[in-house]
Protein backbone atom coordinates (compact mmCIF):
# COMPACT_ATOMS: atom_id res chain seq x y z
CA UNK A 1 0.00 0.00 0.00
CA UNK A 2 2.70 2.40 1.01
CA UNK A 3 4.46 1.72 -2.24
CA UNK A 4 1.54 2.67 -4.42
CA UNK A 5 1.03 5.70 -2.27
CA UNK A 6 4.57 6.87 -2.89
CA UNK A 7 4.09 6.38 -6.60
CA UNK A 8 0.96 8.44 -6.44
CA UNK A 9 2.84 11.25 -4.80
CA UNK A 10 5.71 11.04 -7.22
CA UNK A 11 3.35 11.40 -10.13
CA UNK A 12 2.09 14.56 -8.61
CA UNK A 13 5.51 15.98 -8.08
CA UNK A 14 6.93 14.99 -11.43
CA UNK A 15 6.27 18.17 -13.27
CA UNK A 16 7.65 20.18 -10.42
CA UNK A 17 11.12 18.75 -9.84
CA UNK A 18 13.81 21.31 -10.52
CA UNK A 19 17.53 20.77 -10.51
CA UNK A 20 18.73 23.72 -8.49
CA UNK A 21 22.39 24.55 -9.17
CA UNK A 22 24.70 24.25 -6.16
CA UNK A 23 25.86 27.79 -6.72
CA UNK A 24 22.39 29.01 -5.81
CA UNK A 25 22.48 27.14 -2.50
CA UNK A 26 25.89 28.58 -1.79
CA UNK A 27 24.81 32.12 -2.61
CA UNK A 28 21.77 31.73 -0.34
CA UNK A 29 23.94 30.41 2.46
CA UNK A 30 26.37 33.31 2.11
CA UNK A 31 23.50 35.79 2.16
CA UNK A 32 22.12 34.22 5.36
CA UNK A 33 25.52 34.26 7.05
CA UNK A 34 25.97 37.88 6.05
CA UNK A 35 22.59 38.81 7.55
CA UNK A 36 23.47 36.91 10.73
CA UNK A 37 26.71 38.87 10.94
CA UNK A 38 24.79 42.13 10.67
CA UNK A 39 22.43 41.00 13.45
CA UNK A 40 25.41 40.34 15.69
CA UNK A 41 26.97 43.69 14.88
CA UNK A 42 23.70 45.49 15.58
CA UNK A 43 23.31 43.72 18.91
CA UNK A 44 26.86 44.68 19.92
CA UNK A 45 26.18 48.32 19.14
CA UNK A 46 22.60 47.85 20.35
CA UNK A 47 22.92 50.23 23.28
CA UNK A 48 23.44 53.19 20.96
CA UNK A 49 20.44 52.34 18.82
CA UNK A 50 18.13 51.58 21.82
CA UNK A 51 14.64 50.45 20.67
CA UNK A 52 15.72 50.73 17.07
CA UNK A 53 17.96 47.70 17.55
CA UNK A 54 14.93 45.53 18.28
CA UNK A 55 13.25 46.63 15.09
CA UNK A 56 16.45 46.14 13.11
CA UNK A 57 16.84 42.62 14.48
CA UNK A 58 13.22 41.82 13.66
CA UNK A 59 13.57 43.26 10.19
CA UNK A 60 16.71 41.25 9.42
CA UNK A 61 15.08 38.10 10.78
CA UNK A 62 12.11 38.67 8.48
CA UNK A 63 14.39 39.05 5.48
CA UNK A 64 16.10 35.78 6.43
CA UNK A 65 12.76 33.99 6.69
CA UNK A 66 11.85 35.17 3.22
CA UNK A 67 15.19 34.04 1.79
CA UNK A 68 14.89 30.60 3.39
CA UNK A 69 11.30 30.14 2.25
CA UNK A 70 12.04 31.38 -1.24
CA UNK A 71 15.21 29.45 -2.03
CA UNK A 72 15.71 26.62 0.44
CA UNK A 73 12.02 25.78 0.72
CA UNK A 74 11.51 26.14 -3.02
CA UNK A 75 8.74 28.70 -2.92
CA UNK A 76 10.41 30.25 -5.94
CA UNK A 77 9.58 27.19 -8.03
CA UNK A 78 6.06 26.62 -6.78
CA UNK A 79 2.83 27.94 -8.22
CA UNK A 80 2.06 31.53 -7.27
CA UNK A 81 -0.82 30.45 -5.04
CA UNK A 82 1.61 29.01 -2.48
CA UNK A 83 3.49 32.29 -2.19
CA UNK A 84 0.08 33.91 -1.77
CA UNK A 85 -0.77 31.56 1.09
CA UNK A 86 2.50 32.29 2.85
CA UNK A 87 1.93 36.01 2.41
CA UNK A 88 -1.54 35.65 3.89
CA UNK A 89 -0.08 33.98 6.96
CA UNK A 90 2.30 36.92 7.35
CA UNK A 91 -0.56 39.38 7.09
CA UNK A 92 -2.52 37.43 9.71
CA UNK A 93 0.43 37.47 12.09
CA UNK A 94 0.87 41.22 11.71
CA UNK A 95 -2.86 41.83 12.14
CA UNK A 96 -3.02 39.83 15.38
CA UNK A 97 0.01 41.65 16.78
CA UNK A 98 -1.29 45.08 15.81
CA UNK A 99 -4.72 44.43 17.31
CA UNK A 100 -3.19 43.32 20.60
CA UNK A 101 -0.79 46.25 20.68
CA UNK A 102 -3.61 48.70 19.97
CA UNK A 103 -5.57 47.34 22.92
CA UNK A 104 -2.53 47.78 25.17
CA UNK A 105 -1.82 51.32 24.00
CA UNK A 106 -5.46 52.39 24.47
CA UNK A 107 -5.89 50.87 27.92
Amino acid sequence: MAQSHDQHQDNHHDGQHHAVPYSEHVRTLVALLFLTAITVVVSVFGAALSTLSVFTALFIATVKVVVVAYYFMHLKYEKKIYSGLVLLVGVLFVALSVLTALEYLNR
Binding site: M1, A2, Q9, H12, L99, N106
Partner: protein, 539 residues
Protein backbone atom coordinates in the same frame (compact mmCIF):
# COMPACT_ATOMS: atom_id res chain seq x y z
CA UNK B 1 -5.10 -0.61 -8.74
CA UNK B 2 -7.46 -3.56 -9.07
CA UNK B 3 -5.02 -6.19 -7.86
CA UNK B 4 -5.96 -9.11 -5.67
CA UNK B 5 -4.60 -7.45 -2.52
CA UNK B 6 -6.61 -4.33 -3.24
CA UNK B 7 -9.79 -6.33 -2.60
CA UNK B 8 -8.97 -7.31 0.98
CA UNK B 9 -10.87 -4.98 3.24
CA UNK B 10 -8.89 -2.85 5.65
CA UNK B 11 -10.34 -4.56 8.73
CA UNK B 12 -9.17 -7.99 7.68
CA UNK B 13 -5.98 -7.11 5.81
CA UNK B 14 -3.77 -7.69 8.82
CA UNK B 15 -4.40 -9.15 12.23
CA UNK B 16 -3.07 -8.43 15.69
CA UNK B 17 -2.87 -5.39 17.91
CA UNK B 18 0.48 -4.30 16.46
CA UNK B 19 -1.01 -4.15 12.98
CA UNK B 20 -3.30 -1.45 14.38
CA UNK B 21 -0.95 0.44 16.68
CA UNK B 22 1.63 0.91 13.94
CA UNK B 23 -0.65 1.05 10.93
CA UNK B 24 -0.14 3.88 8.49
CA UNK B 25 -3.55 3.24 6.88
CA UNK B 26 -5.62 6.40 7.36
CA UNK B 27 -8.73 4.29 8.00
CA UNK B 28 -7.18 2.36 10.85
CA UNK B 29 -5.69 5.53 12.31
CA UNK B 30 -9.15 7.12 12.17
CA UNK B 31 -10.57 4.20 14.12
CA UNK B 32 -7.78 4.26 16.69
CA UNK B 33 -8.62 7.91 17.24
CA UNK B 34 -12.28 6.96 17.60
CA UNK B 35 -11.67 4.37 20.31
CA UNK B 36 -9.32 6.65 22.24
CA UNK B 37 -11.62 9.66 21.91
CA UNK B 38 -14.72 7.81 23.10
CA UNK B 39 -12.81 6.50 26.11
CA UNK B 40 -11.72 9.98 27.15
CA UNK B 41 -15.17 11.35 26.40
CA UNK B 42 -16.67 8.85 28.82
CA UNK B 43 -14.17 9.88 31.50
CA UNK B 44 -15.19 13.50 30.89
CA UNK B 45 -18.88 12.60 31.05
CA UNK B 46 -18.33 10.84 34.38
CA UNK B 47 -16.72 13.97 35.77
CA UNK B 48 -19.62 16.05 34.40
CA UNK B 49 -22.14 13.76 36.11
CA UNK B 50 -20.20 14.05 39.37
CA UNK B 51 -20.38 17.85 39.19
CA UNK B 52 -24.08 17.75 38.45
CA UNK B 53 -24.60 15.43 41.41
CA UNK B 54 -22.71 17.83 43.69
CA UNK B 55 -24.93 20.66 42.44
CA UNK B 56 -28.19 18.81 43.04
CA UNK B 57 -28.54 20.59 46.39
CA UNK B 58 -26.91 23.70 47.80
CA UNK B 59 -24.07 22.99 50.21
CA UNK B 60 -21.62 20.14 50.17
CA UNK B 61 -22.99 16.81 48.93
CA UNK B 62 -20.07 14.88 47.63
CA UNK B 63 -16.77 16.73 47.28
CA UNK B 64 -14.78 19.58 48.82
CA UNK B 65 -14.56 22.97 47.13
CA UNK B 66 -11.02 22.38 45.94
CA UNK B 67 -11.80 18.92 44.59
CA UNK B 68 -14.75 20.40 42.71
CA UNK B 69 -12.41 22.98 41.16
CA UNK B 70 -10.09 20.19 40.08
CA UNK B 71 -12.99 18.22 38.64
CA UNK B 72 -14.29 21.01 36.42
CA UNK B 73 -10.77 21.77 35.27
CA UNK B 74 -10.05 18.18 34.32
CA UNK B 75 -13.51 17.87 32.76
CA UNK B 76 -12.82 20.98 30.66
CA UNK B 77 -9.30 19.91 29.66
CA UNK B 78 -10.46 16.43 28.66
CA UNK B 79 -13.53 17.60 26.78
CA UNK B 80 -11.70 20.37 24.92
CA UNK B 81 -8.25 19.03 24.20
CA UNK B 82 -8.89 15.28 24.18
CA UNK B 83 -12.39 15.09 22.76
CA UNK B 84 -13.91 17.95 20.88
CA UNK B 85 -10.88 19.51 19.16
CA UNK B 86 -9.65 16.29 17.58
CA UNK B 87 -13.11 14.68 17.26
CA UNK B 88 -14.48 14.99 13.73
CA UNK B 89 -11.25 15.73 11.81
CA UNK B 90 -9.19 13.04 13.54
CA UNK B 91 -11.81 10.31 13.25
CA UNK B 92 -13.97 10.99 10.20
CA UNK B 93 -11.55 13.34 8.48
CA UNK B 94 -8.84 10.73 8.65
CA UNK B 95 -11.12 7.93 7.57
CA UNK B 96 -13.10 9.68 4.84
CA UNK B 97 -11.20 12.68 3.51
CA UNK B 98 -8.87 10.63 1.27
CA UNK B 99 -11.78 8.46 0.09
CA UNK B 100 -13.96 11.48 -0.64
CA UNK B 101 -11.12 12.99 -2.65
CA UNK B 102 -10.69 9.74 -4.57
CA UNK B 103 -7.18 8.92 -3.36
CA UNK B 104 -5.61 6.08 -1.40
CA UNK B 105 -4.27 7.83 1.70
CA UNK B 106 -3.34 11.20 3.17
CA UNK B 107 -0.19 12.88 1.88
CA UNK B 108 1.97 11.88 4.84
CA UNK B 109 0.77 8.55 6.28
CA UNK B 110 3.65 8.20 8.74
CA UNK B 111 3.14 11.70 10.05
CA UNK B 112 -0.48 10.73 10.50
CA UNK B 113 0.49 7.79 12.70
CA UNK B 114 2.87 10.06 14.60
CA UNK B 115 0.05 12.48 15.30
CA UNK B 116 -1.99 9.67 16.88
CA UNK B 117 0.91 8.67 19.08
CA UNK B 118 1.56 12.25 20.10
CA UNK B 119 -2.12 12.51 20.97
CA UNK B 120 -1.93 9.41 23.18
CA UNK B 121 1.20 10.70 24.93
CA UNK B 122 -0.50 14.05 25.57
CA UNK B 123 -3.57 12.27 26.90
CA UNK B 124 -1.51 10.15 29.28
CA UNK B 125 0.23 13.31 30.51
CA UNK B 126 -3.12 15.03 31.13
CA UNK B 127 -4.56 12.07 33.01
CA UNK B 128 -1.33 11.47 34.95
CA UNK B 129 -2.13 14.58 37.01
CA UNK B 130 -4.80 12.44 38.68
CA UNK B 131 -2.18 10.26 40.32
CA UNK B 132 1.07 12.22 40.39
CA UNK B 133 2.05 15.43 42.12
CA UNK B 134 -0.52 17.50 43.95
CA UNK B 135 -3.50 16.46 41.88
CA UNK B 136 -5.05 17.92 38.74
CA UNK B 137 -4.93 21.67 38.18
CA UNK B 138 -7.71 23.70 39.81
CA UNK B 139 -7.48 26.73 37.53
CA UNK B 140 -10.25 25.97 35.04
CA UNK B 141 -9.33 24.77 31.56
CA UNK B 142 -8.31 28.35 30.73
CA UNK B 143 -5.27 28.34 33.10
CA UNK B 144 -5.69 32.06 33.77
CA UNK B 145 -2.65 33.81 35.21
CA UNK B 146 -1.69 34.85 37.83
CA UNK B 147 -3.59 32.11 39.71
CA UNK B 148 -2.15 29.39 37.46
CA UNK B 149 1.32 30.66 38.34
CA UNK B 150 0.67 30.47 42.05
CA UNK B 151 -1.54 27.45 42.75
CA UNK B 152 0.10 24.40 44.25
CA UNK B 153 -1.77 21.92 42.05
CA UNK B 154 -0.21 20.21 39.08
CA UNK B 155 -0.58 23.01 36.53
CA UNK B 156 2.79 22.43 34.89
CA UNK B 157 1.90 18.89 33.80
CA UNK B 158 -1.60 19.83 32.60
CA UNK B 159 -0.21 22.70 30.59
CA UNK B 160 2.55 20.56 29.08
CA UNK B 161 -0.08 17.98 28.14
CA UNK B 162 -2.04 20.64 26.25
CA UNK B 163 1.24 21.70 24.60
CA UNK B 164 1.96 18.17 23.39
CA UNK B 165 -1.63 17.68 22.22
CA UNK B 166 -1.23 20.82 20.13
CA UNK B 167 1.42 19.11 18.03
CA UNK B 168 -0.96 16.33 17.18
CA UNK B 169 -3.47 18.90 16.01
CA UNK B 170 -0.88 20.73 13.91
CA UNK B 171 0.27 17.53 12.23
CA UNK B 172 -3.28 16.54 11.31
CA UNK B 173 -3.98 20.02 9.93
CA UNK B 174 -0.80 20.05 7.87
CA UNK B 175 -1.53 16.61 6.50
CA UNK B 176 -5.05 17.57 5.41
CA UNK B 177 -4.00 20.82 3.75
CA UNK B 178 -1.36 19.08 1.66
CA UNK B 179 -3.69 16.18 0.88
CA UNK B 180 -6.41 18.52 -0.34
CA UNK B 181 -3.99 20.52 -2.48
CA UNK B 182 -2.10 17.58 -3.94
CA UNK B 183 -4.16 14.41 -3.99
CA UNK B 184 -7.60 15.24 -5.35
CA UNK B 185 -8.82 12.82 -8.02
CA UNK B 186 -8.29 13.99 -11.60
CA UNK B 187 -11.20 16.24 -12.53
CA UNK B 188 -12.04 17.20 -8.95
CA UNK B 189 -11.38 20.91 -8.85
CA UNK B 190 -11.74 22.78 -5.55
CA UNK B 191 -15.34 23.65 -6.41
CA UNK B 192 -16.14 20.00 -7.10
CA UNK B 193 -14.92 18.89 -3.71
CA UNK B 194 -17.45 17.64 -1.13
CA UNK B 195 -18.33 20.24 1.48
CA UNK B 196 -16.89 18.06 4.24
CA UNK B 197 -13.51 18.47 2.57
CA UNK B 198 -14.02 22.23 2.34
CA UNK B 199 -14.82 22.38 6.03
CA UNK B 200 -11.75 20.34 6.90
CA UNK B 201 -9.65 22.58 4.70
CA UNK B 202 -10.74 25.71 6.58
CA UNK B 203 -10.31 23.91 9.91
CA UNK B 204 -6.82 22.71 9.05
CA UNK B 205 -5.61 26.24 8.43
CA UNK B 206 -6.74 27.22 11.90
CA UNK B 207 -5.08 24.15 13.41
CA UNK B 208 -1.86 24.93 11.63
CA UNK B 209 -1.69 28.66 12.34
CA UNK B 210 -3.38 29.14 15.70
CA UNK B 211 -2.12 26.15 17.68
CA UNK B 212 1.52 27.32 17.92
CA UNK B 213 0.28 30.43 19.74
CA UNK B 214 -1.25 28.47 22.59
CA UNK B 215 1.83 26.24 22.61
CA UNK B 216 4.16 29.11 23.31
CA UNK B 217 1.73 30.72 25.76
CA UNK B 218 1.53 27.57 27.83
CA UNK B 219 5.31 27.31 27.85
CA UNK B 220 5.39 30.88 29.15
CA UNK B 221 3.28 29.74 32.12
CA UNK B 222 5.77 26.97 32.78
CA UNK B 223 8.64 29.48 32.54
CA UNK B 224 6.91 31.73 35.01
CA UNK B 225 6.14 28.90 37.43
CA UNK B 226 9.57 27.30 37.36
CA UNK B 227 11.94 30.19 36.59
CA UNK B 228 9.99 33.14 37.97
CA UNK B 229 10.11 35.03 34.66
CA UNK B 230 7.71 37.98 35.09
CA UNK B 231 5.40 37.58 32.13
CA UNK B 232 1.86 37.50 33.47
CA UNK B 233 2.02 38.00 37.23
CA UNK B 234 1.78 41.75 38.01
CA UNK B 235 3.66 41.31 41.28
CA UNK B 236 6.80 40.46 39.28
CA UNK B 237 6.19 42.89 36.45
CA UNK B 238 3.89 40.79 34.23
CA UNK B 239 0.57 41.61 32.58
CA UNK B 240 -2.32 39.20 33.27
CA UNK B 241 -4.37 40.63 30.41
CA UNK B 242 -1.56 39.68 28.04
CA UNK B 243 -2.10 36.08 29.10
CA UNK B 244 -5.79 36.34 28.28
CA UNK B 245 -4.98 37.78 24.86
CA UNK B 246 -2.54 35.04 24.01
CA UNK B 247 -4.81 32.34 25.35
CA UNK B 248 -7.88 33.47 23.41
CA UNK B 249 -5.98 34.30 20.21
CA UNK B 250 -5.78 30.54 19.97
CA UNK B 251 -8.81 29.41 21.88
CA UNK B 252 -11.35 31.45 20.05
CA UNK B 253 -10.30 30.22 16.60
CA UNK B 254 -10.24 26.81 18.30
CA UNK B 255 -13.99 27.14 18.69
CA UNK B 256 -14.06 27.01 14.90
CA UNK B 257 -11.76 24.00 14.91
CA UNK B 258 -14.66 22.41 16.77
CA UNK B 259 -17.53 23.92 14.79
CA UNK B 260 -16.39 23.91 11.14
CA UNK B 261 -15.97 20.13 10.78
CA UNK B 262 -19.44 19.75 12.29
CA UNK B 263 -20.79 22.12 9.64
CA UNK B 264 -19.07 19.89 7.08
CA UNK B 265 -20.79 16.79 8.43
CA UNK B 266 -24.20 18.45 8.36
CA UNK B 267 -23.59 19.54 4.77
CA UNK B 268 -23.09 15.85 3.88
CA UNK B 269 -26.01 14.47 5.87
CA UNK B 270 -28.66 16.82 4.55
CA UNK B 271 -28.25 16.14 0.79
CA UNK B 272 -28.00 12.39 1.41
CA UNK B 273 -31.22 12.19 3.40
CA UNK B 274 -33.18 14.64 1.28
CA UNK B 275 -31.80 13.13 -1.93
CA UNK B 276 -31.19 16.39 -3.63
CA UNK B 277 -28.42 18.83 -4.43
CA UNK B 278 -27.23 20.95 -1.55
CA UNK B 279 -28.64 24.43 -1.77
CA UNK B 280 -25.95 27.10 -2.21
CA UNK B 281 -22.84 24.93 -2.55
CA UNK B 282 -20.46 27.83 -3.05
CA UNK B 283 -22.05 29.91 -0.31
CA UNK B 284 -21.50 27.07 2.16
CA UNK B 285 -17.97 26.40 0.94
CA UNK B 286 -16.79 30.00 1.02
CA UNK B 287 -18.56 30.82 4.25
CA UNK B 288 -16.34 28.20 5.92
CA UNK B 289 -13.31 30.19 4.84
CA UNK B 290 -14.97 33.42 5.93
CA UNK B 291 -15.71 31.99 9.37
CA UNK B 292 -12.16 30.71 9.70
CA UNK B 293 -10.85 34.15 8.76
CA UNK B 294 -13.18 36.38 10.80
CA UNK B 295 -12.88 33.90 13.68
CA UNK B 296 -9.29 35.05 14.18
CA UNK B 297 -10.27 38.59 15.07
CA UNK B 298 -12.94 38.21 17.71
CA UNK B 299 -11.05 36.65 20.61
CA UNK B 300 -11.46 39.79 22.69
CA UNK B 301 -15.12 38.98 23.41
CA UNK B 302 -13.95 36.59 26.13
CA UNK B 303 -12.28 39.51 27.88
CA UNK B 304 -14.90 42.26 28.04
CA UNK B 305 -14.76 42.35 31.84
CA UNK B 306 -10.99 41.89 32.14
CA UNK B 307 -10.18 45.59 32.24
CA UNK B 308 -9.04 45.83 28.64
CA UNK B 309 -9.38 49.06 26.71
CA UNK B 310 -12.86 50.42 25.94
CA UNK B 311 -12.06 50.95 22.28
CA UNK B 312 -10.93 47.35 21.93
CA UNK B 313 -14.12 46.14 23.61
CA UNK B 314 -16.19 48.06 21.11
CA UNK B 315 -14.21 46.74 18.13
CA UNK B 316 -14.29 43.14 19.32
CA UNK B 317 -18.02 43.29 19.97
CA UNK B 318 -18.66 44.56 16.46
CA UNK B 319 -16.43 41.93 14.87
CA UNK B 320 -18.19 39.25 16.92
CA UNK B 321 -21.50 40.19 15.38
CA UNK B 322 -19.89 39.86 11.93
CA UNK B 323 -19.18 36.16 12.36
CA UNK B 324 -22.89 35.50 12.73
CA UNK B 325 -23.34 36.35 9.06
CA UNK B 326 -21.47 33.46 7.40
CA UNK B 327 -22.89 31.12 10.05
CA UNK B 328 -26.44 32.20 9.28
CA UNK B 329 -25.71 31.78 5.56
CA UNK B 330 -25.02 28.13 6.23
CA UNK B 331 -28.15 27.62 8.30
CA UNK B 332 -30.38 29.17 5.64
CA UNK B 333 -28.78 26.99 2.96
CA UNK B 334 -29.25 23.85 5.03
CA UNK B 335 -32.90 24.56 5.64
CA UNK B 336 -33.37 25.39 1.96
CA UNK B 337 -31.78 22.03 1.09
CA UNK B 338 -34.53 20.23 2.98
CA UNK B 339 -37.21 22.19 1.14
CA UNK B 340 -38.90 19.96 -1.45
CA UNK B 341 -36.36 17.21 -0.93
CA UNK B 342 -37.51 13.59 -0.68
CA UNK B 343 -36.70 13.35 2.98
CA UNK B 344 -35.80 9.97 4.39
CA UNK B 345 -35.92 10.19 8.19
CA UNK B 346 -33.03 8.07 9.44
CA UNK B 347 -31.04 8.33 12.66
CA UNK B 348 -28.20 10.44 11.21
CA UNK B 349 -30.73 12.97 9.90
CA UNK B 350 -32.27 13.27 13.36
CA UNK B 351 -28.85 14.18 14.75
CA UNK B 352 -28.40 16.71 11.94
CA UNK B 353 -31.73 18.37 12.70
CA UNK B 354 -30.97 18.42 16.42
CA UNK B 355 -27.63 19.97 15.53
CA UNK B 356 -29.29 22.83 13.67
CA UNK B 357 -31.76 23.45 16.49
CA UNK B 358 -29.20 23.35 19.28
CA UNK B 359 -26.44 25.13 17.44
CA UNK B 360 -28.87 27.97 16.75
CA UNK B 361 -29.60 28.28 20.46
CA UNK B 362 -25.87 28.21 21.15
CA UNK B 363 -25.28 30.82 18.45
CA UNK B 364 -28.00 33.21 19.51
CA UNK B 365 -26.99 33.10 23.17
CA UNK B 366 -23.49 33.82 21.86
CA UNK B 367 -24.77 37.08 20.40
CA UNK B 368 -26.27 38.00 23.76
CA UNK B 369 -22.85 37.43 25.32
CA UNK B 370 -21.16 39.30 22.48
CA UNK B 371 -23.09 42.47 23.25
CA UNK B 372 -21.12 44.62 25.68
CA UNK B 373 -23.93 45.63 28.00
CA UNK B 374 -25.50 42.20 28.51
CA UNK B 375 -22.13 40.53 28.90
CA UNK B 376 -21.33 42.62 31.97
CA UNK B 377 -24.26 40.94 33.69
CA UNK B 378 -23.82 37.45 32.24
CA UNK B 379 -20.04 37.03 32.22
CA UNK B 380 -18.92 34.03 34.29
CA UNK B 381 -22.48 32.95 35.08
CA UNK B 382 -24.20 29.69 34.20
CA UNK B 383 -25.52 31.43 31.09
CA UNK B 384 -22.04 31.00 29.65
CA UNK B 385 -21.91 27.34 30.70
CA UNK B 386 -25.26 26.79 28.96
CA UNK B 387 -24.06 28.66 25.87
CA UNK B 388 -20.86 26.74 25.31
CA UNK B 389 -22.38 23.34 26.01
CA UNK B 390 -25.06 24.12 23.42
CA UNK B 391 -22.39 25.01 20.88
CA UNK B 392 -19.85 22.30 21.61
CA UNK B 393 -21.99 19.43 22.80
CA UNK B 394 -25.41 20.24 21.28
CA UNK B 395 -23.63 21.31 18.11
CA UNK B 396 -20.38 19.50 17.47
CA UNK B 397 -21.10 16.59 19.83
CA UNK B 398 -24.38 15.84 18.09
CA UNK B 399 -22.75 16.19 14.66
CA UNK B 400 -20.08 13.73 15.81
CA UNK B 401 -22.68 11.14 16.81
CA UNK B 402 -24.66 11.86 13.65
CA UNK B 403 -21.51 11.22 11.61
CA UNK B 404 -20.90 8.02 13.55
CA UNK B 405 -24.39 6.71 12.71
CA UNK B 406 -24.02 7.86 9.09
CA UNK B 407 -20.69 6.31 8.23
CA UNK B 408 -21.10 3.33 10.57
CA UNK B 409 -22.16 0.81 7.87
CA UNK B 410 -19.29 1.90 5.62
CA UNK B 411 -16.74 1.61 8.40
CA UNK B 412 -17.73 -1.77 9.82
CA UNK B 413 -19.88 -3.35 7.15
CA UNK B 414 -22.70 -3.85 9.67
CA UNK B 415 -25.85 -1.93 10.57
CA UNK B 416 -26.96 -1.04 14.09
CA UNK B 417 -30.55 -1.54 15.21
CA UNK B 418 -32.25 1.54 13.78
CA UNK B 419 -35.20 1.53 16.15
CA UNK B 420 -33.00 1.41 19.22
CA UNK B 421 -30.81 4.12 17.69
CA UNK B 422 -33.84 6.38 17.26
CA UNK B 423 -35.05 5.74 20.81
CA UNK B 424 -31.56 6.48 22.13
CA UNK B 425 -31.54 9.68 20.11
CA UNK B 426 -34.82 10.86 21.59
CA UNK B 427 -33.67 10.20 25.16
CA UNK B 428 -30.32 11.82 24.45
CA UNK B 429 -31.98 14.88 22.92
CA UNK B 430 -34.46 15.32 25.78
CA UNK B 431 -31.70 14.74 28.35
CA UNK B 432 -29.44 17.27 26.69
CA UNK B 433 -32.00 20.06 26.69
CA UNK B 434 -33.21 19.29 30.20
CA UNK B 435 -29.62 19.42 31.38
CA UNK B 436 -28.51 22.64 29.76
CA UNK B 437 -31.54 24.83 29.13
CA UNK B 438 -32.10 25.56 32.86
CA UNK B 439 -28.54 26.89 32.97
CA UNK B 440 -29.65 29.89 30.91
CA UNK B 441 -32.25 30.63 33.55
CA UNK B 442 -29.98 30.22 36.57
CA UNK B 443 -27.38 32.27 34.70
CA UNK B 444 -29.82 35.09 34.05
CA UNK B 445 -30.74 34.94 37.73
CA UNK B 446 -27.07 35.53 38.48
CA UNK B 447 -25.69 32.16 39.50
CA UNK B 448 -21.89 32.25 39.01
CA UNK B 449 -20.03 29.36 37.34
CA UNK B 450 -17.14 27.40 38.84
CA UNK B 451 -18.52 27.06 42.41
CA UNK B 452 -19.41 23.83 44.21
CA UNK B 453 -22.13 25.62 46.15
CA UNK B 454 -24.92 28.11 45.42
CA UNK B 455 -27.62 30.20 47.06
CA UNK B 456 -30.98 28.50 47.76
CA UNK B 457 -32.82 30.66 45.19
CA UNK B 458 -31.05 28.79 42.39
CA UNK B 459 -32.21 25.40 43.61
CA UNK B 460 -35.00 24.57 41.15
CA UNK B 461 -33.10 25.04 37.87
CA UNK B 462 -30.26 23.02 39.38
CA UNK B 463 -32.53 20.10 40.25
CA UNK B 464 -33.94 20.05 36.72
CA UNK B 465 -30.45 20.24 35.29
CA UNK B 466 -29.16 17.32 37.34
CA UNK B 467 -32.16 15.16 36.45
CA UNK B 468 -31.43 16.07 32.81
CA UNK B 469 -27.89 14.80 33.22
CA UNK B 470 -29.25 11.40 34.25
CA UNK B 471 -31.60 11.25 31.27
CA UNK B 472 -28.74 12.21 28.97
CA UNK B 473 -26.51 9.52 30.46
CA UNK B 474 -29.25 6.95 29.87
CA UNK B 475 -29.55 7.95 26.20
CA UNK B 476 -25.79 7.87 25.80
CA UNK B 477 -25.46 4.40 27.31
CA UNK B 478 -28.25 3.07 25.10
CA UNK B 479 -26.64 4.60 22.01
CA UNK B 480 -23.19 3.20 22.74
CA UNK B 481 -24.45 -0.27 23.65
CA UNK B 482 -26.51 -0.33 20.45
CA UNK B 483 -23.48 0.63 18.38
CA UNK B 484 -21.24 -1.96 20.04
CA UNK B 485 -23.83 -4.73 19.67
CA UNK B 486 -24.37 -3.71 16.03
CA UNK B 487 -20.65 -3.98 15.36
CA UNK B 488 -20.69 -7.71 16.22
CA UNK B 489 -24.27 -8.85 15.69
CA UNK B 490 -25.81 -6.22 13.42
CA UNK B 491 -27.12 -7.00 9.95
CA UNK B 492 -24.26 -7.40 7.48
CA UNK B 493 -24.07 -4.59 4.94
CA UNK B 494 -22.45 -5.45 1.64
CA UNK B 495 -24.01 -2.90 -0.69
CA UNK B 496 -21.81 0.07 -1.48
CA UNK B 497 -24.36 2.75 -0.91
CA UNK B 498 -26.81 1.85 1.87
CA UNK B 499 -28.14 5.42 2.33
CA UNK B 500 -28.27 6.52 -1.31
CA UNK B 501 -25.40 8.96 -0.82
CA UNK B 502 -23.46 10.46 -3.67
CA UNK B 503 -19.94 11.32 -2.49
CA UNK B 504 -17.12 8.96 -3.43
CA UNK B 505 -17.06 6.89 -0.23
CA UNK B 506 -20.36 5.38 -1.40
CA UNK B 507 -18.68 4.07 -4.56
CA UNK B 508 -16.18 1.91 -2.69
CA UNK B 509 -16.88 -1.62 -1.46
CA UNK B 510 -18.18 -1.92 2.12
CA UNK B 511 -15.97 -1.98 4.18
CA UNK B 512 -13.41 -0.30 1.91
CA UNK B 513 -10.38 -2.24 0.67
CA UNK B 514 -6.92 -1.28 1.91
CA UNK B 515 -6.38 0.80 -1.20
CA UNK B 516 -9.81 2.42 -0.86
CA UNK B 517 -11.07 1.85 -4.42
CA UNK B 518 -11.41 -1.27 -6.53
CA UNK B 519 -12.05 0.78 -9.67
CA UNK B 520 -11.59 4.36 -10.74
CA UNK B 521 -14.08 6.58 -8.90
CA UNK B 522 -16.57 8.41 -11.11
CA UNK B 523 -17.46 12.02 -10.41
CA UNK B 524 -21.02 13.27 -11.00
CA UNK B 525 -21.19 15.70 -13.90
CA UNK B 526 -22.13 18.96 -12.21
CA UNK B 527 -20.45 19.00 -8.84
CA UNK B 528 -20.41 16.59 -5.93
CA UNK B 529 -24.15 16.69 -5.13
CA UNK B 530 -25.52 16.39 -8.65
CA UNK B 531 -28.17 13.76 -7.95
CA UNK B 532 -29.54 14.08 -11.47
CA UNK B 533 -26.36 12.66 -12.92
CA UNK B 534 -25.49 10.29 -10.12
CA UNK B 535 -23.01 7.67 -11.41
CA UNK B 536 -24.64 4.22 -11.38
CA UNK B 537 -22.28 1.96 -9.48
CA UNK B 538 -22.94 -1.79 -9.66
CA UNK B 539 -21.47 -4.23 -7.19
Amino acid sequence: MATATAQVNYLEAKKGIMSWLFSVDHKRIGLMYLYALITFFLVGVTLGLLMRYELLNPGKDLVEAKTYNQIFTLHGVIMIFLFIIPSIPAVFGNFFLPIMLGTDDVSFPRLNLLSWWVYIIGAIMALSTLVFGDGPADTGWTFYAPYSVKTGTNVTMSVLAAFVLGFSSILTGLNFIVTIHRLRAPGMSFTKMPLFAWALYATSWIQLLATPIIGITLLMIVAERTLGVGLFDPSIGGDPILYQHLFWIYSHPAVYIMALPAFGVISELLPTFSHRTIFGYKAIAYSSLAIAFVGYFIWGHHMFTSGMSGTARFIFSMLTFLVAIPTAIKVFNWVATLYKGSIDVQTPLLYALAFIFQFMIGGFTGLILGALATDIHLHDTYFVVGHFHYVMFGGTGFAFFGALHYWYPKIWGRMYNKLVANIAFVIFFIGFNTLYFPMFISGLMGMPRRYYDYLPEFHIPNIISTVGSWILALGLILMIVNLIVGRFRGRKVTERDPWGGITLEWQTPTPPPVQNFDRLPELPKNGPYDYEHKPQIKD
